[in-house]
């Protein structure tokens, strides 16, 4: 290995012990080489410092923008998954996809209607009605109402709650169809959570590979429900 190669390999951290010894000898005996090496070490230090400062300001800015979310509804679901997981310790067997579905499925909480002003526009009235049905478990009716709202407003949430209503009503095929074809205007808000429900819908249909695909998406997103998704994945893999 020539001198340049040796230096290069050093910086990528792949020198063998023998090569490191060789480098050491060179540094002691070859001033020109030493000078070049020191310079590159300084370059590395400077770039490191630069990168660290950039990352640091990024992290600092997070402290200022983040608000805590008070939305903890899935903790219960997580608990159940864990219990279920423990159960399998004692009764190892093929996972029961339907049971996993039942234990994990919960209609997404109503985060819309308490927030929306209690106005008397047609949409507001429709909206309150839709969520009343939704909260009361009358999912077929709720789905129809959300559909109507979506036709009027084109809002993502209406489509989303319609899909979840369909799933809750037991129409998993329809829910899959609705969720898979839709292009979210606010993908950041709905894509991840939709994947969760798609995973569940496929679980219910005992289509393991499709379910895994969506749970993996959720799990790797690091976002909402990623832990639960990882737990479900452990069960069905």
């Amino acid at each position: 290995m020539d001198k340049q190669q040796l230096m290069e390999t050093w910086f990528t951290g792949k020198l063998s012990d023998e090569e490191r010894q060789h480098l050491n000898d060179l540094l002691a005996t070859d001033p020109e080489f030493r000078e070049e090496f020191d310079f590159q070490m300084e370059v590395r230090q400077a770039i490191r410092e630069e990168e660290r400062q950039t990352l640091k300001s990024r992290l600092k800015s997070l402290d200022e923008t983040v608000r805590p979310s008070g939305n903890k509804w899935w903790y219960a679901a997580a608990g159940i998954v864990i219990l279920l997981g423990l159960g399998w310790l004692f009764f190892p067997s093929q996972p029961d996809y339907r049971e996993l579905y039942v234990l994990n499925f919960e209609p997404y909480p109503n985060l819309i209607s308490p927030v929306v002003r209690n106005g008397d526009s047609v949409t507001d009235i429709q909206l309150n009605q839709a969520f009343q049905w939704y909260d009361a478990g009358e999912y077929e009716k709720a789905s129809g109402a959300f559909q109507a709202i979506h036709e009027h407003t084109g809002e993502d949430y209406a489509w989303f709650y319609r899909s979840v209503s369909e799933l809750a009503a037991g129409n998993d095929q329809k829910a899959v169809y609705l969720l898979e074809q839709y292009n979210w205007q606010e993908p950041e808000r709905y894509e991840n959570i939709s994947s969760w429900y798609l995973g569940l819908a496929y679980l219910r249909q005992e289509r393991r590979d499709d379910a895994v695909k969506y749970f993996e998406k959720v799990s790797s997103s690091g976002g909402e429900l990623h832990r639960q998704a990882a737990l479900v994945l452990e069960e069905i893999r």
Binding site: Q45, E49, L59, V66, S220, L233
Partner: protein
Amino acid sequence: MVKDQYVIDRLREGDKRALDKVYLEYKTEFILFARPFHISEDDISDIYQDSIIALYENVRSGKLQQLTSTLKTYVFAIAKFKIYKLLKDKSLNIIDLHNLQAREEEGTDEFAVEMTEERLQKMRHAYKQLGKKCREVLQLFYYEGQDIESIKETLNYTSKDVVKSQKSRCLKQLKNLIREENG
């Protein structure tokens, strides 16, 4: 652990949003953990941020590929070690340094050069004046520890020789810039 490994894999690809998530996930807990050591809130934040950055660097450089503990334990081990260094109280046994993985990766560099603050700032300034292409190559090589072959892949260069000559051209430019600043 499964999820933690996912995160590591995302970080390896340079996903900074994954890093944001990690940062936020353990922050409160770390602050609560660190308070009893009587360090200022600013120092606690600094230590935590630096530990998250160390995590990122270790993943990107390939030092950390497979977790042998949870991600949280790993981050905390780095951070505890930093608290320990800050307090410089070697008799402090409260801190468990069992997480050898993280501890080793906190080791200092062999052959490291002492740099004055002034020299460092000059070099940073010069580096920022380089063109984007130069900064890319140098950043991948010196910060992320990628070898010539993988830089060739990352930046779509036609051959390793092109990468090599680009890199030495950029180093030369950097040298000149620093000389100008000094002169």
